[in-house]
Symmetry: C2
């Protein structure tokens, strides 16, 4: 019965890049009809060849969709959301998938007001490469998908979106808009800045090719698309800038503790040691975090 | 014939923790007789049970070894190296495995002078947990092993050490002492500081459990042993403190670029964009880095 229900569903994707095509691939695999819209016809073709969309479409065709995912980059996202909201009825849920929330919601609000069927969202998954070529049907399996309703969202629209998210094997998590922006600054934007800094320093070394596991892990996302990540950081500029300044102060303070430290006089190392001790305590708060391996989403388990 | 040669070899391990036991396990698997020395008898027992050492020993027994690995933590390393050099003949190569080099070499030099059979070294591999329980026979497969000779090292001692390193499947890379210290500050020490900062900020969030792949990667090493890592950073304090201050300045500068940036006026985003563009260029310098998967050490391949 579940299969029959999903087969009757039609979903729209606006922007068939890495994220849009991955959403499409996951939904096509579940029997959903996926309409794809993208000004870039090459991307649309790749998405179709990879079963990321069932059929290329124009924005007007999205009227027939139950849910439309707008996965345009931050700079174009608000306008694309507005364009879709202007053609669909109140029955179609419109969501986005950018890592920037308050700024986009504010832009939509300014121009057309916040409609009950617009439910902003943000999947916590991705890839260090861009484009539909790197899309994956399984990208969202076991991942968190932040659902960040504004005050005027309709409850049934939120639930409809969460049902589609669950089809992808992801776990929907509700989160306030500002809470989202502060949180992603920490769990996504600052990690990307750190990775970028590390490769820049590493590229200046004579002995370039010596890093171990921590180096490989921490620099994996260092080569991300500069234009896209400029938009992401810019769209979330206040929480990110605040966090960068906090980190700068903490690094300066650790440097001062190191100036005083001594290998042979452990009593002088309290500052450095408490830095690592606090981190160990903080890490333990995450130790119980369920991952895909340890606690897969029920739906994902069934379809394996 | 290779097998017979390795069977005749005896190697000593002083400090049967994570690194020492991993070295021992790799060598025992290659037919080497491994003598283990550790003041902690429990660690010694675990190491023996896991085939990380062939037999527990006292420091005087190390006279019969061709190579002795001192894998004590930085604070005790110089003294342990001195203790071993004081009992073995010039035929036994003595090396260490700490991530701190100039400071330890200087301490040995001050106390007993730099002998030709003391060849400092540092394997670029490890694990975020400590102790022989987490040791692995394959820890060094495909990893770089920095060999950092001082001026008085004998060429044959260096070669003997490199032969044993290759037995472990690692790739020996020669590197100057100061170059080593600057390089590991970048490829190991700063990544561990960044990971620590991230979990500290993350633990303060209401929405703790939302991170995706970049978060998991960048915080993997955040819970490392505070005492050990205090010693590591303290032993390399000058290069690390310099780098922390450079990173603090770069973060402050990126924050300033963000203050000026605007999603709707891309011409204001040049500072942020050049930050990510530089990183992408730097990352490409590492793109050709051979990894274990793409280019395994010949010996490791054979024994698979």
């Amino acid at each position: 019965m579940g299969a029959k229900l999903t087969c009757l569903m039609t979903v729209g994707i606006v922007g068939t890049g890495l994220i849009g095509t991955s959403i499409g691939m996951g939904l096509v695999a579940e029997g959903v009809t996926v309409l794809g819209v993208d000004p870039n016809k090459d991307a649309l073709q790749v998405a179709q060849r990879r079963f990321g969309i069932s059929v290329p479409a124009e924005i007007g065709d999205l009227r027939q969709c139950e849910v439309v995912f707008v996965t345009a980059p931050p700079r174009y996202c608000a306008q694309a959301v507005i364009d879709v909201l202007n053609v669909v009825s109140g029955e179609t849920v419109v969501t986005d998938a950018t890592s920037v929330k308050s700024e986009i919601v504010e832009a939509v609000k300014q121009k057309i007001g916040l409609m009950p069927n617009f439910v902003p969202g943000h999947p916590m998954a991705g890839h260090e490469k861009s484009g539909p070529e790197y899309a994956s049907q399984w990208m969202f399996r076991g991942a968190k998908w932040l659902v960040t309703p504004h005050e005027g969202c309709s409850g049934s629209a939120i639930k409809k979106l969460e049902k589609v998210i669950a089809l992808l094997g992801a776990n929907p998590v509700r989160c306030g808009l500002e809470e989202h922006d502060r949180a992603v600054a920490v769990v996504s934007h600052l990690p990307h800045v750190f990775a970028a800094l590390l490769v820049k320093y590493g590229a200046q070394l004579d002995s370039k090719d010596i890093g171990g596991g921590s180096w490989r892990d921490l620099t994996r996302v260092a080569g991300v698309d500069p234009d896209l990540w400029t938009q992401i950081l810019t769209g979330n500029k206040k929480p990110v800038a605040d966090l960068l300044r906090l980190a700068a102060a903490d690094l300066e303070s650790l440097a001062q503790s190191l100036d005083e430290a001594s290998l042979s006089e452990p009593e002088k190392n309290r500052g450095v040691e408490s830095f690592f001790r606090d981190a160990q305590t903080a890490k333990q708060a995450f130790a119980e975090t369920p991952t895909f391996e340890s606690k897969p989403n029920r739906r994902a388990k069934k379809s394996n």
